[in-house]
């Protein structure tokens, strides 16, 4: 049941963030097309064996970000919004870059140095894939 999401206590991030991320990823890759009904909060909580509050928080956040829509008394569905898939991918990329940039800032790296490092990693991955 609900095997499209898996959460891990070994992952140091809060569980609700893991749920959010995985729902978004399923939407981004097209596994959950717009209009797809999502399980109710209590169903998903029981299926994942996480607390109701975890799923509730994830759904509220997904709704706030416009990824899902909740209709009174009818449960939640994947939002029917043009460009949803690409906007999720875009925001995921921005989040990762932001993380890398703040770590760089914390370690006292300059903007040019960070740019250079990203280019290096990019080239390395291209090389490895060949």
């Amino acid at each position: 049941m609900h095997s499209w999401i898996s959460i891990s206590l070994g992952d140091p991030r809060p569980l609700y963030l893991q749920v959010i991320e995985q729902v978004k990823r399923r939407v981004a890759v097209g596994d959950l097309p717009p209009g797809t009904e999502l399980p109710s909060i209590r169903e998903l909580a029981a299926g994942l064996k996480v607390s109701v509050i975890t799923v509730k928080r994830a759904y509220l956040e997904l709704e706030r970000e416009g990824v899902i829509a909740t209709r009174q008394g009818k449960g939640s569905v994947v939002a029917e919004k043009p460009g949803l898939q690409s906007s999720i991918q875009e925001s995921e990329l921005r989040d990762h870059l932001k993380q890398a940039a703040s770590l760089g800032l914390l370690l006292g790296k300059s903007k040019t140095e960070l740019q250079k490092r990203i280019a290096e990693v990019y080239e390395q991955i291209q090389k490895d894939e060949k």
Partner: protein, 305 residues
């Protein structure tokens, strides 16, 4: 307990304790304020001897508190008669089944005493717990006995489950079976579970609220993800002249030469930057596990108290 997520205007409480105290010769339960909202799972975590069982016995009316007020399923505990207990399922390791008799014999007995006993559900539980009704209790392993007791409690569909260390001593598979079953219970939003353990890992995943108790006092109460977001551990290198910054909720966990490990229980995103005084190099900002947070809370609480 307040949450910013609750969109219902009234939160009904399944359990409420206000200013509850109880004194024994060598142990005191001190001024316990504790509530559990209906339809939620509440985890009570504490080291052995912290007061978890005493708290639960007070809720069951098995121990009379010295002070304070207790209400369970909207009834004051003093009037908590047999009728009220129809709606409560209590599990404790002290409880004994009758050894020479079979599980099936016990099921018939409980069935005759409780009006809401559900035969179909009992059958499903037998199946999912892998229990054989014809087997005598004396032949059961510890895990099977725990599951048999839980079956007898669950199948009468109580509105409130008060489970004192139900997963203690269970192997990982039995633990998984029990937790799966408990989550099925709260699919019905009118049912509530209060669950104690000395092990954070047993309760953290399924609990809507987690309360830490130690030495008879409540030391912290929140939900898992809020605990994880508020508590962080920062490692930093600092010059000799460095002193612990005066930031709310900071504690020096350990020092090795000029490497210091600090824990924070009121973490904010801008904190690492604030700590970067001249000469200070931050090595890492790390999340803590709930177990680490629990241990640090207990130690902080003991040092303050």
């Amino acid at each position: 307990m307040t949450t910013e997520l609750g969109n219902s205007t009234t939160t009904e409480l399944a359990v409420s304790m206000v200013g509850v105290s109880k004194s024994y010769k060598h142990f005191q339960l001190q001024n316990i304020d504790f509530t559990v909202e209906r339809g939620t799972v509440a985890g009570l975590i504490g080291p052995n001897g912290a007061g978890k069982s005493t708290t639960m016995r007070i809720l069951m009316g098995l121990v009379q508190p010295g002070a304070g007020s207790v209400s369970v399923l909207d009834k004051a505990i003093s009037s908590n008669d047999a009728a009220a207990k129809q709606d409560i399922g209590y599990f404790s390791d002290d409880m004994r089944l009758y050894k020479p008799e079979t599980l099936s014999w016990h099921m018939q007995l409980v069935r005759s005493l409780y009006r809401d006993w559900d035969d179909v559900y009992a059958g499903q539980l037998l199946d999912r717990f892998g229990l054989i009704p014809q087997q005598a209790i004396k032949g059961l392993s510890h895990g099977q006995r725990v599951k048999a007791m839980l079956l007898l409690i669950l199948a009468r569909r109580p509105k409130l489950l008060i489970l004192d260390e139900p997963t203690n001593g269970l192997d990982p598979v039995a633990k998984h079976e029990v937790i799966t079953e408990l989550m099925r219970v709260v699919e019905d939003e009118s049912r509530t579970i209060l669950y104690s353990s000395h092990n954070t890992q047993d309760v953290e995943q399924i609990s809507d609220s987690i309360t830490f108790i130690d030495r008879g006092r409540v030391i912290a109460s929140s939900n898992r993800d809020d605990f994880l977001e508020k508590w962080k551990c920062i490692k930093l290198h600092a010059p000799e002249s460095w002193t612990l910054p005066s930031v709310d909720g900071v504690r020096l966990e350990s020092s090795h030469r000029n490497l210091h490990v600090l824990s924070f229980n009121q973490f904010r995103g801008e904190l690492p930057v604030q700590l970067q005084t001249p000469g200070v190099v931050i090595e890492s900002v790390e999340s803590m596990t709930l177990e680490e947070i629990f241990v640090s809370s207990v130690i902080r609480g003991r040092q303050e108290g």
